[in-house]
Symmetry: C2
Subunit: 339 residues, 2 copies
């Protein structure tokens, strides 16, 4: 008989879900949701601005409270779950990490673009030094092949990461791709592998099951799938699917559904897959490009879907929002030439 | 190089989606949605009461119009797509089928419980006699093993079915199960295999991709996933996912998203996965049991989730709604004994 591994559930309702709330959860709301997640047996609860520590800014949107206020509201209600904070090196600093540990953070999730793991070395070192668990987070992993992801994951492992996540930031992956990439990561890494999905192609749960079948033992979700655009893997649906598939999950199904019931009245809109989200997933581009794309489409008389598809082909990454206007301009010139 | 098969898309927004509309689409609304589906290149468009021909009744709920009115409203707007009608032998009769052909139906989808294919023989014979295409529909296929499904599918094949669908009526399947069962059907049948999913465990798209990978060449969807409870596979999301996975699909992605935009303002609620739907999928029971279960739970002081789980263990089937009270009574007696 093969031993079935226990799957760790990390819930990021109170971090990635913040995007769908325009970062306006109150600390009290966060404490309520976190208490319900803790009660259900979720292993790790991630809390910060949607863009991680120090994300609250003119550029990324101001949150309703500071990260410190959020963390200090949540930490005391946790009986079993570990408190986590996301940090994107370049946005959050080592100073923010020290504050977070003071506020009760036990796990740092340190995120970089899938080709830029090297910028996580200092932050990972500090996290380890402070005794925290370190989760590496390789974003936009659909844009490169398995060897590149593995190379970058190995870097994170060498910096002290305890787990490395493959992150499908744009909800652009399909199950065979997840199977191949996670399987390869399992082969080359000596640490556990995680997977974080988005639901743009309706595959958040399907891809996560594929990841677990391929050897991932840590997976992310948000209650009701709360997240930008099409949202994330729904934690409560995922728990049901994992149990149905026979995996060991230390989360109680009824109680995680109860936690979703706590969240529900706080949501600003139901989490559905609209047309824009489908195109983002199909093209493989970040949801933060959407507004810029609509503006450029109007300015140059183009179909925004065509611009998103072109951005996907060019594999634009976060931070390249200005480039959208250049692409749209070029497309409009080619179009008028063709006419 | 392996030839990639073309995947047929059958859309059932205007039949299975009727459940989520309390069967209240108007014929004009149906015509609008059907025109958009036709324009997008959908191969088959199914139209009737949610429970098929003659479903409009006190027992299943009265529709806003007769099947004849719906079919006659839709038939003239179709340029390429074939008009289909569902029939459940025992509800719909041969007389209804003759009316449907008069009204323009070219495809009959003839549905039975997965162990009762034998009741479809007469209806399939008549459909063939009238020159229609016949799609067999084996409902609640999660309740039995692959050999039983295959045996029943062979029966339908012997009655003249042109395609047989495996139907995951309760949204209770997981991808490895779909892979195994569809793969086996492909082995033993000489006709194409189809798959119809529900989204209770967030796996409608994931399971449908698994079915196609295992050899299914006909798949169902509804715009925006419109359907009872957690709803169906979203047609527009499925088209994106199939194309992304490299399959040939004769449906235009932009135009099927446009069709979803036509449907959207007609919807009564956003299609999301609520807690009741999760338990229905996890337990593997029909959504029509829900109301009866809530009533029984209240009467006997039980958690409705526990009743649904017990009904799933006992593999109750459609029509056994009265049995719910017996099960709840028995559970309440055992409970009081335990105390």
């Amino acid at each position: 008989m093969i031993a079935v591994p226990e799957i760790r559930i990390m819930d990021t309702t109170l971090r990635d879900g913040m995007h769908a709330m325009a970062h306006q959860f109150t600390p009290e709301q966060m404490a309520q949701v976190a208490a319900a997640l803790d009660e259900a047996g979720v292993d790790v609860i991630e809390v910060t601005h949607g863009d991680g520590l120090a994300g609250s800014s003119f550029q990324y949107g101001f949150a309703a409270a500071t990260d410190e206020e959020y963390l200090e509201a949540v930490a005391p209600v946790l009986k079993k779950a570990k408190l986590a904070a996301l940090i994107l090196p370049g946005i959050g600093t080592c100073r923010d990490m020290r504050m977070a540990v003071q506020a009760g953070v036990k796990v740092f999730r340190i995120a970089t673009h899938v080709t830029e793991a090297d910028i996580s070395e200092e932050h990972m070192g500090l996290a380890k030094e402070m005794g925290a668990e370190v989760v590496g987070f390789l974003m936009m992993s659909h844009t490169v092949g398995k060897e590149k992801i593995a190379e970058q994951a190995k870097l994170m492992e060498s910096y002290g990461a305890d787990v490395v996540y493959m992150v499908d930031s744009a909800g652009a992956m399909i199950p065979p791709e997840v199977t191949e990439k996670i399987g390869y990561l399992k082969e080359v890494l000596n640490i556990p592998v995680g997977f974080h999905a988005h639901n743009n192609l309706g595959l958040a749960v399907g891809n996560t099951l594929a990841a677990v079948a391929a050897g991932a033992t840590a997976v992310d979700g948000t209650l009701r799938g709360l997240g930008a655009g099409a949202g994330n893997t729904s934690t409560e649906v995922l728990v049901a699917a994992l149990k149905k598939a026979g995996y060991q999950v230390g989360v109680d199904l009824y109680k995680i559904m109860d936690a979703a019931t706590v969240l529900e009245p706080m949501m600003r809109r139901p989490q559905v897959i609209d047309n824009a989200s489908i195109i983002l997933g199909y093209a493989g581009v970040y949801s933060s490009f959407l507004l810029h794309t609509y503006r450029a489409a109007e300015r140059f008389g183009l179909d925004p879907r065509d611009i998103l598809m072109e951005l996907g082909r060019r594999k634009v990454v976060g931070g390249q929002e200005d480039y959208i206007v250049d692409v749209a301009y070029e497309m409009s010139r080619n179009k008028s030439r063709a006419v």
